[in-house]
Symmetry: C2
């Protein structure tokens, strides 16, 4: 497989960093081609605007989707965006490694989506959900939480994690055609013992060695 | 009232820009003190990292919540973050004006939350939800969509907008103690006639003139 791992955490020696490194090493060791986007390391700018493009459709009024469709037609994406698009298009499996911040993606990862998932190139009229551009590809969210598992149950303090993740799994991944694999969730790693974290890393590696045979989940509906 | 309006759109002449200007003018005209954070205009950087702070708790390993609690204790937030915190703390009513991008906040606004809503200063152990730091304040999402209203019903193509907004209204706003007012939603303004958009702006101004007497909504649970 071609695998793209997108990583969004400012501290490389964090547990998120260890999960990222485990994925890179395990999947490479299993014979897959692994590409990465370590967003903090490359200094990715998540603010979507004219810097997404080298082409210009309307210099007077900025309508991003119009510029995206135009850039798709004339190959007018800025080099950093084009590089991310090519990784995305090459991937059979995409993994996002991130901490859940404010019940969503860290801004650097949300902006990677805002800028890279361009209209025309990654979705379009009649090319969403079941007929999505990335049909046949699979995606997996690997995330950590600040709270314990019981806080993310339907009756828990914060509410059902599946519902919290639905705008991402349904609204971004399935919207563009990806099939979604079970999210890899680690609860409160900051409070776990070193031995527990090591056991989690080994379990993650074991899961990844069998990832090719996993079936997608039903992410549910709102 | 003290009102803070946070605006996140790269094109000031967009319909989002018109909604923002309408809110500023209407609320100022009604005698309220209005402050703004026009995130694209001020070039707000949404990437959360050590640049949030002038203080340092642990120079060797970056744990953001640890640094946030420390910065709270020693008044160690970077000047741009401190400025946003003071606006947030002064506001009786906060309005976010933004386009719904990928079923969530534009990255520049998500990162405003990631960086400004700091542990210690805006929430803490035992100070969330019903006992939140911002209890007594009210907040309102004013957003535009790319799709029509029927796509955001529970059985619609994209699913229930209330559920899509819950991680924001419940997970960010109510989490920190805000009471949430009914979201102001404009469906597909890009496809509306100029007269329709003008009527929407007038209806928004009318709503804002009576905003002090509005009651919070139940944002629901997952």
């Amino acid at each position: 497989m071609d695998v793209l791992i997108v990583f969004a955490h400012p501290e490389p020696r964090s547990f998120n960093g260890a999960l990222f490194e485990t994925a890179v090493q395990t999947l490479t060791g299993a014979g897959h081609r692994v590409d990465t986007s370590d967003l903090y390391r490359i200094g990715f700018n998540p603010v979507s605007d004219r810097r997404n493009f080298v082409s210009v459709k309307d210099a007077d009024f900025l309508k991003l989707q119009l510029e995206e469709v135009h850039a798709t037609e004339v190959r007018g994406f800025a080099p950093d965006i084009e590089a991310e698009l090519m990784k995305l298009e090459a991937a059979d499996l995409m993994i996002w490694q991130f901490p859940l911040w404010w019940f969503g993606l860290p801004a650097i990862l949300k902006g990677w989506v805002d800028r890279v998932f361009a209209m025309g190139r990654t979705y379009g009229i009649g090319r969403i959900y079941e007929t999505g551009v990335f049909k046949g590809k699979r995606a997996l969210l690997s995330l950590t939480t600040g709270g314990p598992r019981e806080a993310y149950l339907p009756e828990g303090l914060n509410g059902d994690l599946d519902a919290i993740l639905r705008p991402i799994q349904r609204g971004i991944l399935e919207f563009t055609g990806f099939s979604v694999l079970r999210p890899e969730v680690h609860w409160q790693p900051a409070r776990a013992e070193a031995a527990q974290r090591q056991a989690w890393l080994e379990a993650w590696a074991t899961r990844l060695r069998g990832i090719e045979s996993e079936s997608p989940i039903d992410v549910g509906r709102y």
